[in-house]
Structures are given as C-alpha cells and as structure tokens.
C-alpha cells in the first residue's frame, strides 16, 4: 500500500460509555455524541460532507437501522457509508473518501447499546445456519477454545492474574469507563469472569478532515481470515498480524516506535494474543506485557465497557486522547505515536489496525 498523498487528520472526538440511560433513545444518544465530537473539532455540521457509520441491525434491534440512526449522525443530504462490521473499518472507509478527494471532512460514528439487547442471543445468530448454529455456538465458546490453546502452559497462571488485576485497575482509573451498571456473560472453561468484557452502552464519534489538525492518521491496514473456523489457526491472529504490518508499513514505523497500543479483544486472552500479533509482545508474553507495560491498553480494554461493533473506534479514540495528553490518570507520558486495532465477529475474522501520530 502506497502512502496516501492526502494527509488525513483527526479534528475531534467524543466517547460516551454508559448504561441504561432511559432519558435518551438510540438516535438521541448518537446525536449527542456526534455533536460533542463536532464541538471538540470546533466545526459545525455544515462543514461535513461525508458520514461513515458502523452499526449492526441485530445490536440495534432495528432493521435497516442506519435509516433510523444516520440522520442522528448528521447524514441528512450527505454522502453516507454504512459499515456493518467493527468500527475501526469505518474509519478506513472515511479515510478513503478523504484521500480520494470525494470529501473533505467526515463524521465517523459507531454505537451499540448492551442494555437494549441480549448479547448471548445476538451472538448465536452470528454463526452460519448450516454447521455452526445447530450446535448453539456463541462468541465466548470460540474465545474459550482459543484461550485453551493459549493457556496450555502453566507459566501463564501468574501473569494472567496480574494482567487481569492491572486491567481492572486501569478501567477503574479511566474517567470514561463504565462505573456502574453493565453485566458480564457466563464464562465457558477455561475463561473466568475476570477475563470477560463488561457489557455497556457505547457511542463514539470522530471527525476526520483533510485540514491540518493536531492528530494525523499515518497508517491503516486491514485483513480477513478464512470464514470456516476449523480452517484457522486459533492460536494466532494472522489477520491482525497482517493488518498491523500493513498499517506500520504505511506509517513508516515499527512496533518499537509506538508509545501506546490499544488492542481490541473480546477477552483478556484475546487482548494478549492481539498484542503478540501486532508485534508489541513476544510470542507467549502478551499477558506479561499487559500486566507490566503501562503502554498496553491503558484504557483498561474490555473491562472499561464493551459493545460491538463500536470497539475499534473506541480504541482509536482512547489512543488519540493519549496523544493529546488528555487520557487522565492512565496518561502515558510523552505519547506521540499510537496503534489501535479493531476486530470483528466471528472470532476476529476481520481486523483493522490504525496508526495515529501527534502532528
């Protein structure tokens, strides 16, 4: 992938993680979040000519949900792309619009409201109806089988405990994390509750522009793994490895030059494997890195609040807050360059990696 001629900048961000706020319907939650991002960018909606959304009908419980929700994100009479996958991919879609010259400023928004739907029911619908669904699979079953392969050696026990404690501490210290409410699903063996995400209501928005701004997107990469789960190497995230490699090549950076990484993963083990896949931890040392390295998921990852398909964009926004020096207690001193990743269902079939830099 060649370095794009048109630089793309982040002008504004907004992140809302909450729970069961009956004062707002979904479109109001989206409107408020996009409005905050525009205010952060010091722009009005009139200056926006593109809207890219990441949303999922089954999460929203609304068929053709972008028809309901896109206007709340500012899509009225503007070019709109609807991305039904993890939201980090929506950011790549918006970048493409800007780099091609079709737009000069884009809203990128994503959301998911765990308090409105049942994740376990939703998760079962994600599997193919021929081979997977009759067995009754859900996402955690697959993460558990991946974890079983990863945790096969005893030396992970102590690291897993420390990584889990540090993740919880980071989430508690993150001012944007869910502080009350939410819930966790049941944990299939060998997963335990401390490995799981905290289901939350999440709305996130970002304003991308070709106008120079303090944060620049300097690299992006995507990759997909085979659909058939039995064809994949569940011990590795080959798609994420390739996506991160493409993003770093475009950015002209290496993992060692990153100050912060925010890796998306459904469970703590998935986050550890993600760190290894992007080259920020040696093979088999992802949990150790999560336990000891404050540059890794300083937001607290999935423990801070989780809901697909918004999480890749949440990781990007948390990275940008680090580069702006606005992350709060978990601020990594002097952070100038960061990578964030987003992984889709099912079991991380598709991956996006983004590199951002303080311009």
């Amino acid at each position: 992938m060649a370095v794009a001629d048109t630089p793309v900048y982040v002008e504004g961000i907004a992140l809302n993680i909450g729970w069961h706020d009956a004062t707002k319907d979904l479109s109001e939650l989206i409107f408020d979040t996009v409005t905050l991002a525009l205010e952060d960018a010091d722009q009005s909606i009139d200056a926006v000519d593109s809207v890219v959304l990441a949303a999922h009908d089954l999460v929203d419980g609304r068929s053709l949900s972008s028809m309901v929700t896109a206007p709340a994100a500012g899509a009225y009479l503007r070019e709109e792309i609807r991305f039904s996958d993890d939201a980090a991919g929506a950011l790549v879609g918006a970048m493409t619009k800007l780099e091609s010259g079709r737009a000069r400023r884009s809203v990128v928004a994503a959301w998911g409201r765990s308090s409105e739907y049942n994740y376990d029911q939703f998760s079962q619908t994600l599997f193919d109806p021929i081979y997977g669904r009759p067995i009754g699979l859900n996402e955690f079953v697959l993460s558990a089988m991946r974890a079983q392969l990863y945790l096969a050696t005893d030396h992970h026990k102590e690291q897993r405990t420390r990584a889990s404690l540090r993740r919880d501490e980071a989430a508690r210290a993150n001012p944007r994390a869910l502080k009350s409410g939410g819930y966790q699903s049941a944990a299939p063996y060998p997963l335990v509750a401390a490995d799981l995400p905290l289901w939350a209501d999440v709305a996130v928005a970002l304003i991308l522009s070709v106008e120079p701004a303090p944060i620049r997107v300097i690299g992006a990469g995507q990759s997909s793994e085979p659909y058939a789960l039995g064809d994949r190497n569940l011990r590795a995230l080959q798609g994420l490895q390739l996506a991160a490699g493409r993003a770093m090549t475009q950015a002209g950076t290496t993992g060692a030059q990153l100050d912060v990484v925010e890796v998306d993963g459904l469970t703590l083990i998935d986050e550890a494997m993600g760190l290894e896949s992007i080259g920020f931890a040696a093979a088999g040392h992802g949990l150790e890195q999560l336990a000891d390295d404050p540059r890794c998921n300083p937001s607290g990852g999935g423990a801070a609040g989780y809901c697909p398909p918004a999480m890749g964009l949440v990781r990007i926004v948390e990275s940008i807050l680090q580069l702006r020096g606005e992350a709060g207690v978990n601020q990594v001193a002097g952070a100038r360059r960061a990578m964030a990743t987003g992984s889709s269902t099912v079991a991380g079939q598709t991956h996006t990696a983004i590199v951002v830099e303080a311009a």
Partner: protein, 151 residues
Amino acid sequence: MTELITIPGRWEFDYTYFAGEAASRFFGELKDSRRIMGVRCPSCKRVLVPARSFCDVCFQRTEEWVEVGPEGVVETFTILTAAFAGMPKPPVVIAYVTFDGADTALLNVLTGLDLSNISDAAHRLQARPRVRASFVDEPQGRITDFTFTLL
C-alpha cells in the same frame, strides 16, 4: 416530571437456508453412509472438512471428494458449565477435532467424558486425545448427527 418509558421488542422470523450442493452431499453422506467427507483443494492440496465447493484461501473450486476419519484428534475445546440458550444442559464439551486425513478441524459436541470434575476432564482433554465420530441412531442429515467420543 416525565415518566421515562421503555418499549419491549422481539424479532422472530422464519428463514429457509439453501445448503447448496456441497453441504447437501456432505450431510447426505452423514445420513446415508455415516461417513465424514472433505474435499481436496487442487491448489494447496489441503483436505478441507466439512466439504465445500471452493477453497477460500486459494480461491479455487474444489471437486475431489475425500473420506476422512472417523477417528481424529482433539485440537482444542471448551467446557460450558453454565446454561446457554440453544445448548444442551451443562456441563457440555465443545471441541475442534481434526479427522485423520483432514487438514482442517471440525467443531462439534464431545460426549462420553466424565464431567463430574471439570478440572480432571479438562486435564484429560488438554492431552489432545484421540476421538471417534459416534452417530445418533437415526441420522437426519445435520451436523448434530454425530458427536465426538473418546477412544
């Protein structure tokens, strides 16, 4: 003070999924012959199970059908100790098994393992034991026609 209301919702639709020729033949073999079938990719030569009409890694059509198993090895597993909608009553073992002669793993329920002590059961499965496809008395041409049982 406005009373904030919530409105219950539920989706319930019927679908008829076309399994296609490859899956139909795969399930027909389960039902009529109690055989597990794969296909060999003409490019990478891997035997893909369950049988399918193309290899998505090589982007090539597949035509050579190959019988695999009925024995194989457990690649990985999970044990569900809590009830999940649509699943048998817990505890339940779900496993990926690579059948002899196959290059990809197939997922299904593993039965016949003593699950009275989850740690002991997990320890046994961590050794990647060999298993066999055990068929139900009256196969219906579905993935649920068989489970994995320990040899």
